[in-house]
C-alpha cells in the first residue's frame, strides 16, 4: 500500500515538473514579444507606414520604402524558388530510392545547413560584383537559395504522406501518369505546399545577413530591381547600429512590424493547413 502511495506521489510530481517546464519554455517568447511591443508600439502610427525615412534630426519619418522593398525582394525569392522547389519536392517523393534522388536529397540537406551569410557572400561574388552594383535582384536570388531547401523538404514530406492508394485509384481509372500528378496528387498536397511556402517566406522575410552584401539597403524609395533596395531587417540592423536615439526608436518599430508580418504569415499558414486539410 505504501509503495503504491509513493508511486502516486512520484507520478504527481513528475507531471507537475513537465507542466512547469513546458510553461517556462514559452517564457523567452513572451519576454521578447513584450519587450518589442513595449519599445516599438510608441513609434508606430500611420506616418510610419506611409512616409520615407527622414534625415537625422528631423522628427517623424517612416519606413515605407523598406516595407515595399521587403515585399519585392521576398516576392522575387518566392517566384524564383517556389516552382523549382515544388517540382523538385514532387520528384523526390515520387522517386524515393533512385541514385539521383539520393544525391538531390543530400544536396538539399547540405544547402539548408549552409549559413545564410555564406549564401550572401556567394550572391555578392556571383551577382553583385559582375553587375558592379548592389541590387534588389541579387538579394532576391540570395533569399531564393535559402528558401529552396525549406520548400523542397516540406513539399516532399507533404507528398510522401499522401497514400499510394490515391495514385493507384487514379491509374486504375486509366489516367496517365502526368495527369495523375497534376490532378490528383498536387491538389491533395496543395495545402501542405502552401503552408510550407508560407513558413519559408516568413523565414526569409526576416533574413538580414545575406541582404547586407546584396540588396544593401537604401534610404530612398526604389522600385528598380537592379538598384539597391531597403528591407525591414536592414532598417532594423542599420538603425540599431547607428548612434542616434531617434533611429533606435524607429528600429524598434520596424522590428515590431517585421514581427507582425512574420506572425501573420505563421498564423495564416496554420489556418490554411487546418482549414484546407485534406482527409485521406
Amino acid at each position: 500500500m505504501r509503495q503504491l502511495k509513493k508511486r502516486i506521489v512520484k507520478d504527481f510530481f513528475f507531471s507537475l515538473i513537465i507542466i512547469v517546464m513546458a510553461f517556462s519554455a514559452c517564457i523567452p517568447l513572451f519576454l521578447i514579444l513584450g519587450f518589442i511591443i513595449k519599445n516599438g508600439a510608441s513609434s508606430i502610427n500611420l506616418d510610419f507606414f506611409i512616409h520615407l525615412p527622414k534625415p537625422v534630426g528631423e522628427q517623424g519619418g517612416g519606413i515605407l520604402n523598406a516595407i515595399i522593398g521587403t515585399f519585392i525582394i521576398t516576392g522575387i525569392a518566392f517566384l524564383l524558388a517556389t516552382p523549382l522547389s515544388i517540382l523538385a519536392g514532387i520528384y523526390l517523393s515520387e522517386n524515393r530510392k533512385n541514385a539521383f534522388s539520393e544525391i538531390l536529397r543530400t544536396s538539399v540537406d547540405i544547402l539548408s545547413s549552409i549559413p545564410s551569410i555564406v549564401i550572401g557572400i556567394i550572391a555578392y561574388l556571383w551577382i553583385v560584383k559582375p553587375m558592379k552594383t548592389f541590387s534588389a535582384l541579387s538579394g532576391g536570388i540570395a533569399l531564393a537559395i535559402i528558401m529552396l531547401p525549406v520548400v523542397i523538404k516540406s513539399t516532399e514530406e507533404t507528398f510522401a504522406i499522401i497514400p499510394y492508394g490515391l495514385k493507384e485509384a487514379s491509374f486504375a481509372l486509366g489516367v496517365p501518369y502526368y495527369r495523375t500528378i497534376l490532378k490528383v496528387i498536387l491538389p491533395a498536397g496543395l495545402s501542405g505546399v502552401i503552408t510550407g511556402t508560407l513558413i519559408a517566406i516568413s523565414r526569409i522575410a526576416g533574413e538580414t545577413a545575406p541582404l547586407l552584401f546584396t540588396a544593401f539597403g537604401n534610404p530612398f524609395m526604389n522600385l528598380n530591381l537592379t538598384k539597391p533596395m531597403n528591407t525591414i531587417p536592414l532598417v532594423v540592423f542599420n538603425y540599431t547600429t547607428s548612434p542616434y536615439e531617434q533611429w533606435h526608436k524607429i528600429a524598434w518599430a520596424a522590428a515590431l512590424v517585421l514581427l507582425i508580418i512574420v506572425l501573420t504569415l505563421n498564423i495564416f499558414s496554420r489556418i490554411i493547413s487546418k482549414k484546407w486539410k485534406v482527409k485521406f
Binding site: 490515391l166 493507384e168 485509384a169 487514379s170 491509374f171 486504375a172 481509372l173 486509366g174 491538389p187 491533395a188
Partner: protein
C-alpha cells in the same frame, strides 16, 4: 449462354528474379463472379494487378504469358485503354479526398480530361450510384466530400467510380477486408446484383466470402493455380489435396 470474356494463358509474373505467379491458366466467364482465393503471399493480388496492368508500376515487375480480353492480348493494348475496360476497387477505400461525391463518381472522366455535357454527367452519376447501391444514402449530399462517408459507403463510392467508366470487368482486391460485417454484407449483395451487367473478379483471403458469393473459384498456392472450377463443386469436393487442406483449415 456462357462465354469466356477473359482468358489467362500460361501466365507468369514476379518481381525481378522472384517469380510470384507460375503458369496460371484459367478463364473467366462473362456475368459471373469468379473468386481468387489462397493464403497470404500466394500471388492473388499480383494476379489481379496483372489483369489491369497495374503490376507493371511495381519496381522490377516482370511477366510472361498471355491475358486475353475478348480474345485480344491486353499486353498489346495501351495500358490506359485496358484500365478503362477493366475497373478496379482496392482493399482500402480510396475516394479522391479533394473531390465531392459527385466529382468522385465521374472522376474517371474529369481526370482523363473527357468533357461531358451536364445532362450526361448527371445521368452517369445517378446511374452509377444507383448501381452501387449508394444513391439513396447520398442523394442529398452529392456535393460533400467523399471522405465524409463511412468506410463501407466510401468503398461503394469507389465501386460507383469504377462503374461510371462502364468497364467490361470489375476487379475487386479484398474489397471488404477493412470493413465491418454489415458493410461487408451490403457489398456482397451488391456484387450479386452487379453480375447481371458486369463480370466480377474478386480476390479474397476469406474462404467463407469466396464460398458465399462466387460462381467460380480459383485457388492459388505459392504462385501456382491449384484448382479452378465451379464454386459449389470446389467447396464441396475439391479435387486437389492442397485445396482440401486449405479449405479445412490445415494451413493458411
Amino acid at each position: 449462354m456462357e462465354s469466356q470474356i477473359l482468358k489467362i494463358e500460361n501466365f507468369s509474373a514476379g518481381f525481378g528474379k522472384c517469380l510470384v505467379l507460375k503458369n496460371i491458366d484459367f478463364s473467366v466467364e462473362q456475368n459471373r463472379i469468379t473468386a481468387i482465393m489462397g493464403p497470404s503471399g500466394c500471388g492473388k493480388t499480383t494476379l489481379i494487378r496483372c489483369i489491369n496492368r497495374m503490376h507493371e508500376f511495381s519496381p522490377g515487375a516482370v511477366f510472361s504469358g498471355k491475358i486475353l480480353l475478348h480474345d485480344e492480348d491486353i499486353y498489346s493494348i495501351n495500358p490506359i485503354i485496358v484500365r478503362r475496360k477493366i475497373g478496379m476497387v482496392f482493399q482500402r477505400p480510396n475516394p479522391f479526398p479533394t473531390m465531392s461525391i459527385y466529382e468522385n463518381v465521374i472522376s474517371g472522366f474529369i481526370l482523363n480530361g473527357i468533357k461531358l455535357k451536364k445532362g450526361e454527367r448527371d445521368h452517369i452519376v445517378v446511374n452509377s450510384l444507383q448501381k452501387a447501391g449508394l444513391w439513396e444514402e447520398v442523394k442529398d449530399n452529392l456535393h460533400r466530400r467523399g471522405t465524409f462517408l463511412s468506410g463501407g459507403q466510401q468503398q461503394r463510392l469507389c465501386i460507383a467510380r469504377a462503374l461510371a467508366m462502364n468497364p467490361d470487368i470489375l476487379l475487386l482486391d479484398e474489397p471488404t477486408s477493412s470493413l465491418d460485417p454489415k458493410s461487408t454484407l451490403l457489398i456482397e449483395q451488391l456484387m450479386e446484383e452487379l453480375k447481371q451487367s458486369i463480370t466480377i473478379l474478386i480476390v479474397t483471403h476469406n474462404i467463407a466470402q469466396a464460398a458465399r458469393i462466387s460462381d467460380y473459384v480459383a485457388f492459388l498456392y505459392l504462385g501456382e493455380l491449384m484448382e479452378f472450377g465451379l464454386s459449389k463443386e470446389v467447396f464441396t469436393a475439391p479435387k486437389n489435396k492442397k485445396t482440401e487442406e486449405y479449405l479445412t483449415g490445415k494451413f493458411g
